[in-house]
Amino acid sequence: MIKFDRVGKLYPGGYEALKNLSFEIEKGELVFVTGHSGAGKSTLLKLIAALERPTAGTVLIGNQNVSKLRRAAVPFLRRKFGLVFQDHKLLYDRTVFDNVALPLHINGVVGHEAGKRIRAALDKVGLLNREKAMPITLSGGEQQRLAIARAVVSRPAIMIADEPTANLDETYASEIMKLFHSFHQVGVTVLIATHDAHGSAEFGGRTLHLEQGELR
């Protein structure tokens, strides 16, 4: 599903975020990417989601070589992923419902079908009764769940979450992790970057530990 072959990422200015990285992730796997902040976790996820291009080596998603992708093809690759960002990236000028609607609209799903899928996604994260609320009125945990609903609504094959529990207290954090685990159980490939490793032990799954841009 995902294959890194001697991948490196050198940022302009000389900062080398990833060095000579090779690994493979099978379809349906649950993988935790751990490491201190600055170890290259976010960069790794960005390379997978085609948000950035590697400066060395090849990244294969499915059978597509991300490094060689035409610019016009990039959006279509990105649609395969459900992204949960560290800072949620919710749109605060529209309702919970409309936030979840965005990926569907991008995918060309509108109208009745979209409504059905949006409500199913909101139901899954327990926000069905808040669909008309504005995101700013939600608690931190609820906002993160909304971000997850937005990530799953277009039924992606791969979910990628960058520090999804970073700013949440213990109870909320474990709720969120359970949610990701449930996606893994229905066959979705799940990648989670996290700075604390103990979540991974609880749910099984593989751990990729990064230290200064290298796998350890």
């Binding site: 948000l51 965005l102 109208g111």
Partner: protein
């Protein structure tokens, strides 16, 4: 597939109209700016159109005077008469016999003295020809043609003033084109700038949409609709201003025309002009927003 594309467009359209409904003042101002800007060249154009119509009404004025040779034989005069009668561009013609002309000259207060100094009638027989067309080129061609007829000593044409008028109108037309071009460019900038401001307020949404797989086309679509709708609204506003101006001026123009025993009045902009105005305005709006969005997309390019 087509249903999906239509649905996408409907979505972008309703998104834009929703935003416009939430900010009606901004919409109104935008439409007013475009309307006022466009109404200026449109008014000039309609004014010119009317002057041209008025000038076209002068076709009784351009005359060609055909002076026959002294003592031209009777049959030659008859032949010229026949030629004039069947000429397709001649509206009417009138024979002025040399004796009649001589009498007229002697009775004319200003010319009687000169005539008195002459021993005999120096005037030839003549025809005064009125042309159907007011076009100086046509009239000139007629004059040259008639000059060639046998028995015609001199075909004289007083079309200088009409040439001047047409020259002025031509100049006016060019002026309208230049002004329309300049103001069109200004409109392009105005719409582009307004769209740029909208993009700035939706920067987050655009950036996020890109991250989760939106194509440039998807991002561009609502802004293109916004620009086009501004253009259409502005075009109609310009039309409204134009029609009001014509209506307002018409009363005074009709009064003035009545003094000259004419029923001349300004005509409203025609359907094709109205269509061109609204269509052109819509096109300008579309181009303006297209340029603005593409510039913004290039600025937030991340991949």
């Amino acid at each position: 597939m087509i249903g999906q594309i239509l649905a996408q467009h409907r979505l972008a359209f309703s998104l834009v109209t929703g935003r416009m409904r939430r900010a009606p003042l901004a919409l109104l101002m935008m439409i007013a700016v475009i309307g006022v800007t466009l109404s200026l060249p449109a008014m000039l154009y309609v004014a010119l159109e009317n002057i041209q119509r008025l000038a076209g009404g002068f076709h009784t004025a351009p005359q060609i005077s055909l002076f026959l040779a002294m003592n031209a034989p009777e049959e030659q005069i008859k032949e010229i008469d026949a030629q004039l009668r069947k000429h397709k561009d001649v509206a009417s013609y009138r024979f002025v016999g040399r004796n009649n002309a001589w009498q007229e000259m002697q009775q004319n207060t200003g010319l009687a003295e000169i005539a008195g100094g002459l021993e005999q009638n120096p005037l030839p027989d003549a025809y005064v020809v009125e042309t159907k067309s007011g076009d100086p080129a046509v009239i000139e061609r007629m004059q040259q043609e008639m000059q060639q007829w046998s028995g015609i000593e001199h075909a004289q044409l007083d079309a200088a003033w009409i040439k001047r008028l047409h020259g002025l109108l031509e100049l006016g037309n060019k002026l309208v084109l230049v002004i329309a071009g300049l103001l069109g460019f200004a409109l392009l900038i105005t719409t582009g700038n307004s769209i740029r401001l909208q993009i700035a307020t939706q920067q987050e949404e655009i950036a996020l949409s890109r991250l989760i797989g939106a194509t440039d086309r998807f991002i561009r679509r609502p802004f293109l609709y916004a620009g086009t709708l501004y253009g259409i609204g502005g075009g109609f506003a310009a039309l409204l201003i134009l029609a009001s101006a014509v209506w307002l001026f018409n009363e005074s123009v009709a009064d003035l025309a009545r003094l000259y025993a004419s029923d001349f009045h300004l005509i409203m902009p025609t359907a094709d002009i109205s269509l061109a105005l609204v269509g052109g305005s819509a096109l300008l709006g579309w181009i303006g927003s297209y340029v603005a969005v593409n510039r913004a997309l290039a600025d937030i390019e991340s991949y």
